[in-house]
């Protein structure tokens, strides 16, 4: 059944692509988008017909999803979402952005508040029970950030003695992971709803460290070069995926196809260098997608 769906989808996409080559551009918007057609009834078709896609992303992570003064987010995740929208035939200005902090990423998909979530979203089995993942499109790793003047913390093991305090964000994988290394969670762990509060707490000295994925930390270190630094090496693997509603296999396959495509045609590299590349110029190797 699944293979049949896949083949039908692929065939229709192929037909759609040949028709667009024959028929040319039809949309009257400034961004030239090619007219694509999808299997009737599929999510891609619905989104394409509605000419609107709702994307959940982070609004407070430099390099991946950061809202500017006009309220519109920018970053690597944002660029990936824009590419997917373009592949759906939707221009970038028709994307509706919603802020999805870590703890509500599953909820917004379950309640159909957004269509996809591209928000430094680590793939793990617990989340797979509630939603589905396309990708991964990037592999980060958990790491620790401290004040530049502090040399006492060298890695997660520094928390074993119970004197150091660490901050993370409610609902994130790093928060769960770091609990294993703490002697007493109640006196050592602080959770906020957004990372910027953690960074503020670190700068004030009320906590000794902030832990989350290294790319997020790199963004904060880059904006506070005199106060903060990264310590140690990454001690976990955090594959970032794109969240879609559970059970929507056709859509997931479509997104995976797009990811594979852009890894080869250079759009992935361009998305990186335009955004997170400012903090980390090394363009990462696009990981193989996992079609589970």
């Amino acid at each position: 059944m699944k293979i049949k769906k896949l083949l039908t989808g692929a065939a229709l996409v192929a037909v759609g692509l040949t028709t667009l080559v024959a028929c040319g551009d039809e949309t009257p918007n400034s961004t030239p988008t090619t007219a694509v057609t999808f299997a009737a009834g599929s999510t891609m078709d619905k989104l394409n017909k509605a000419q609107k896609i709702r994307v959940g992303t982070k609004f407070d992570q430099p390099g991946f999803g950061l809202a500017g003064l006009d309220g519109k987010p920018a970053g690597f995740d944002v660029e990936i979402a824009k590419i997917i929208a373009a592949e759906l035939g939707i221009p970038a200005d028709k994307i509706e952005w919603t802020e999805t902090p870590s703890r509500i990423r599953e909820e917004v998909l379950e309640t159909d508040k957004v269509d996809i979530v591209v928000a430094t979203y680590t793939i793990n089995d617990a989340r797979k029970e509630r939603i589905d993942f396309a990708g991964p499109y990037y592999v980060a790793g958990q790491q620790i950030m401290t004040k530049k003047s502090d040399d006492s913390i060298t890695g997660p093991d520094s928390f074993q003695d119970g004197t150091k305090k660490v901050c993370s964000v409610t609902g994130s994988t790093p928060a769960k992971n770091i609990e294993k290394y703490l002697k007493d969670v109640a006196t050592q762990l602080v959770l906020f709803d957004v990372y910027t509060k953690c960074v503020d707490a670190l700068k004030q000295g009320t906590v000794d460290a902030v832990t989350t994925d290294n790319v997020i930390l790199t963004g904060f270190v880059a904006t506070n070069p005199n106060d903060l630094k990264l310590v140690g090496t990454r001690f976990t693997d955090e594959p970032y995926g794109i969240g879609v509603k559970k059970g929507d296999t056709a859509f997931r396959d479509f997104v995976n196809d797009v990811l594979e495509k852009i890894a080869k045609d250079g759009r992935y590299a361009k998305a990186w260098t335009d955004t997170a590349g400012k903090f980390d110029p090394v363009v990462p190797e696009a990981p193989a997608v996992n079609r589970y």
Partner: protein, 312 residues
């Protein structure tokens, strides 16, 4: 027979309000010249001490951290700064969003609060009726039903009043979203605020009306007005003057509580402030501005309240 002695009336008693004078006006004697001098000196000393404390505890540490720098305050006060216009547009957007939500919440709370108060008064009145003009079983049923309805509304009111308004807003937003209703966040905020404040306003109205002398209701009944007409024509107008201060202070509370919208994702002033802080890295300065905005708006509202109370 000697004429009754006219006691000299103190200056304060010639004020129009003929009620009992509060104790605060007479806690200390009117100061003589020596006391005035002492007061002046100690006032100056106290003022100087406060200023020194303020400088030492607050301004100096902030200055040491560079919180008074041009870079942090520039976007807020310097029109030539590149971020000045976008920032103030952002603040404007946020303030409008907050005021919009607050205005709608105020109107809905008032309407629902009044309706709830009327309902509760009617129900309470009905429970005293014996329905003797109806056949026996129906009468018992009607009495039981009114008693049940009265109890249920009482329980609902106590529940909604006892819960934090944040919890109400939170679960309204989550619950309605799970039920599939994807309205903009503002409506979840307004619904949550209305649910909480209508109960409070209903209680204020109810206690205002029930606090009126019983003679009013009896007199209205004796000239043939129905209970509904009594409430509308006789009791409400009198009760309004008594309850107006409490109602208006509750409306100020509504305005302050709209700031909770940021915790469910509503793009109000506090949410936009977070965005600004992310880009400009000046949290303390931005929140001082936000605090001042709230202070000014709420203070103006309270003054409006006292003014209307005096002129109604």
């Amino acid at each position: 027979m000697a004429a009754p002695v006219e006691l000299p009336t103190p200056a304060k008693a010639t004020r129009k309000r003929a009620t009992v004078r509060p104790a605060t006006s007479v806690l200390y004697d009117a100061p003589g010249p020596r006391t005035k001098r002492i007061l002046w000196v100690s006032s100056a000393a106290a003022a100087a001490l406060l200023l020194v404390l303020g400088w030492y505890l607050v301004i100096r540490p902030l200055d040491e951290q560079g919180q008074f720098s041009e870079q942090l305050w520039g976007p807020i006060i310097d029109p030539d700064n590149a971020s000045f216009t976008p920032l103030w547009q952002l603040i404007g957007r946020g303030t409008v969003a907050t005021l919009k939500a607050a205005a709608i919440a105020v109107v809905t709370s008032l309407i629902c609060g009044l309706a709830l108060a009327m309902l509760r008064i009617q129900l309470k009145h009905l429970t005293t009726q014996r329905f003797s003009h109806l056949p026996q079983p129906v009468a018992t049923g009607a009495r039981g039903l009114t008693w049940l309805l009265n109890g249920v509304t009482r329980v609902c009111v106590e529940l909604l009043r006892g819960m934090p308004v944040l919890v109400t807003i939170f679960f309204v937003a989550r619950g309605l979203r799970q039920a599939g209703l994807h309205w903009p966040e503002m409506w979840f905020l307004v619904i949550g605020l209305t649910l909480y404040n209508m109960v409070v306003i209903a209680e204020i109205v109810r206690s205002g009306i029930e606090g009126l002398p019983r003679g009013q209701r009896e007199a209205a009944a004796s000239i043939g007005l129905s209970p509904a007409q009594t409430t509308r024509l006789v009791l409400l107008p009198q009760a309004v003057r008594v309850m107006l201060p409490a109602v208006i202070s509750q409306l100020v509370v509504v305005l302050k509580d709209t700031s909770l919208g940021v915790l469910i994702g509503y793009h109000d002033l506090l949410w936009w402030t977070k965005t600004a802080v992310l880009n400009l890295n000046n949290p303390i300065q931005m929140y001082i501005v936000v605090g001042l905005i709230f202070l000014v708006v709420n203070y103006a509202l309270s003054r409006l309240a006292t003014w209307t109370q005096r002129h109604l």
